[in-house]
């Protein structure tokens, strides 16, 4: 395959900040991205992830900080001078141009000779498996095909960095899974660095080499998908990574990482201390790990049950009115009393009110 990314060693964000009036949308983001890396910017809506991507693309200017590509400072360059490929959320295909002209647009702008453009458009369309659709207008293609054209257009210029802004959010569930695999394959093929914005943790976990979790414009955690899934460093990151149960409690006993917490139930809850400072703590457990057990420390009343194929997932209310999400293999009636518990190694404990 002849398409490859332009060579560079690393992209460095150095205290990248952006304000909108008095609102700090991005606060001092620092990150180093190696060539070939796939980085996911993950966070809830309004966390600043799209702002970060637009700053990288040059569509927004920085309020403070700098962006470096190797030894070259690029945050002062206009978007057309950066040469990054960008895939937009709504694809932003040029509706009046054929698929081929869309894909070749970047090459045409940089003055590549016609024959060379034709060859590289062929290659880019080949990479996204759309060779037969070249003559059509974008409006004649399905959503998934438009998505592929958008990717082909971004990679045809062989950019050092490919930026993707929630590119799968407009596709249906099945197509999303297919395109996920495609994006991963294309990324490997190019050898470029990819920065991928998403609010979907599954997407980030399955695609990225490293995930950057953003919240309120700040980096909360940077780590591999495995790190992030197993051991989120803060309570808010844990919540975002699927630890839906957050029970406030009081620290009873601590020995290194081993910790016991009193949450107002009959027994104490045993777990792993991740980020504990004072006596008041929050216990975080994934719904899949909280299951009925004979000696479970948490007594609750079932309020709802939902069948998901591999198991039932239910909601329950604890004594203090705490909302609980749990998994069960056997159906339970609404109103039934249940004792719930989770393995200590999958019960994470954080300082209470430690968000921010």
């Amino acid at each position: 395959m002849a398409i490859a990314s332009a060579g560079f060693r690393e992209l460095r964000l150095d205290g990248m900040s952006r304000n909108f009036g008095a609102h700090n949308a991005l606060k001092e983001i620092s990150l180093t991205v190696q060539r070939g890396e796939f980085i996911a910017l993950l966070g809830p809506s309004g966390c600043g992830k799209s702002t970060a991507l637009n700053c990288l693309a040059g569509l927004l200017s920085l309020s403070d900080g700098a962006i470096w590509l190797d030894e070259k400072r690029i945050d002062t360059l206009k978007p057309e001078e950066r040469g990054f490929g960008m895939v937009f959320q709504n694809y932003a295909l040029f509706p009046h141009m054929s698929v081929r002209r869309n894909v070749g647009f970047g090459l045409q702008m940089s003055g590549v000779p016609k024959a060379e453009i034709e060859r590289r458009v062929d290659e880019a369309l080949n990479v996204v498996r759309l060779t037969s659709q070249g003559a059509k207008l974008p409006g004649q293609l399905s959503g998934g095909q438009q998505q592929r054209v958008a990717i082909a257009r971004a990679i045809a210029v062989e950019p050092p960095l490919v930026l993707m802004d929630e590119p799968l959010s407009n596709l249906d569930a099945k197509l999303r899974l297919e395109m996920r695999a495609e994006i991963r394959r294309i990324h490997r093929l190019l050898g470029s660095a990819t920065i991928y914005v998403t609010h979907d943790q599954d997407e980030a976990l399955s695609l990225a080499d490293r995930i950057v979790v953003l919240r309120d414009g700040e980096v909360r955690q940077i780590g591999t998908p495995q790190d992030l899934y197993r051991r989120p460093l803060h309570a808010d990151v844990a919540e975002f990574m699927g630890f839906r149960n957050a029970l406030p409690g009081r620290l009873v006993r601590r020995a290194g990482e081993e910790i016991e917490v009193d949450c107002g139930f009959a027994g104490t809850i045993r777990g792993q201390a991740v980020d504990v400072a004072g006596e008041r703590v929050v216990v975080a457990i994934r719904p899949a790990d909280l299951v009925p057990m004979a000696d479970g420390p948490i007594q609750a009343e079932v309020t709802g049950l939902e069948y998901r194929g591999e198991a039932y997932y239910g909601t329950a209310t604890g004594p203090g009115g705490a909302e609980l999400y749990f998994r069960t293999d056997e159906p339970l009636g609404v109103g039934a009393a249940v004792r719930l518990g989770a393995p200590a190694e999958r019960t994470l404990v954080y300082a209470a009110g430690g968000v921010g």
Partner: protein, 294 residues
């Protein structure tokens, strides 16, 4: 339970007739009475000249340079004015679309439409006349020695047509340009297109069909210029526009038949240009100007 298996009664909608569309009938009747009927009446009248055969009026018009020259005189005003207005509207609209105080500016620009041609013409007579502010100011600051002649000639009509025509083309152009998804230009920028190329390759091709329609509307409006040609121009000379010739025939010579013929010639010229432009428009992309789904 009754065993009534008859299908539901077929409604108008089932037969492809939209009942609501029928509400158009009174309006259609109105158009027929107020437009089609006078038009047909005028057309027939034009073939019944006071003297000569049934084409007498038309041969009279095209054998008199003073008459057929009005077509050229009118075109000489209407075409440059329309093109200039469009050429001005596009860059102004490109700037205005990102402005926060768009409403205020739009209101100011639209004001000339609401004033009407006569009021604008009167204002210009005072402002641009030999003793008007403009000439006095220019003399005062020493730029000129003698007043420059800007009224009662071609330029007087030209300026008034630009002023009254611009808001119209501007508003249409602004709505077209605002309709283009900003992501398209951003995408073009990330692909290396500078502002100039973005305009040439993205914005312009997407608004050309709309500009063609704008041209037609503005051109027809300018071609039928009457009040400002009389008030600000030289109706006996270089701004003897075709509508003025028709008015003279009707109200000075009381030859309604001849006036009708002139009006028909006017219509044919307008239809000709509109047809030409709309045919050319067919060569361009006319679909939605969004960037894709969502």
């Amino acid at each position: 339970m009754s065993a009534d298996r008859r299908p539901r009664r077929r409604t108008l909608a089932d037969r492809g007739i939209d009942g609501v569309t029928l509400l158009l009938l009174p309006a259609a009747l109105f158009v027929v009475l107020l437009f089609v009927y006078p038009f047909v009446y005028g057309l027939l009248l034009s073939f019944a000249p006071k003297e000569g055969g049934w084409l007498g009026n038309y041969s009279k018009f095209f054998s008199d340079p003073y008459m057929y020259g009005t077509i050229w005189l009118t075109l000489r005003l209407a075409l440059p004015v329309t093109l200039l207005n469009i050429a001005l509207s596009v860059p102004v609209a490109m700037q205005v679309r990102h402005m926060k105080r768009q409403r205020l500016l739009t209101t100011i620009l639209v004001l000339p439409i609401t004033l009407g041609t006569v009021l604008v013409a009167e204002g210009l007579l005072n402002y641009l006349g030999p003793q008007g502010w403009l000439n006095r100011t220019l003399i005062l600051i020493g730029l000129i020695d003698h007043p420059i002649r800007l009224v009662h000639n071609y330029w007087g009509v030209f300026i008034s047509l630009v002023i009254t025509g611009f808001p119209f083309t501007f508003l249409l152009t602004l709505s077209m340009i605002s309709g283009i998804d900003p992501a398209l230009e951003q995408a073009a920028a990330t692909l290396g297109a500078r502002a100039r190329s973005r305009f040439r390759h993205i914005v312009l091709p997407l608004i050309v069909p709309g500009l063609a329609v704008t041209f037609c509307l503005a051109f027809v409006d300018a071609f039928s210029v009457f009040p400002s040609a009389v008030m600000l121009g030289a109706p006996a000379g270089e701004t003897r526009v075709i509508s003025f010739a028709a008015a003279q025939a009707a109200f000075e010579q009381y030859d309604y038949s001849y006036a009708s013929a002139i009006a028909m010639i006017m219509a044919v010229v307008q239809f000709g240009f509109v047809g030409l432009v709309l045919t050319a428009r067919g060569l361009f992309y006319k679909g939605p100007v969004g960037g894709g789904k969502g």
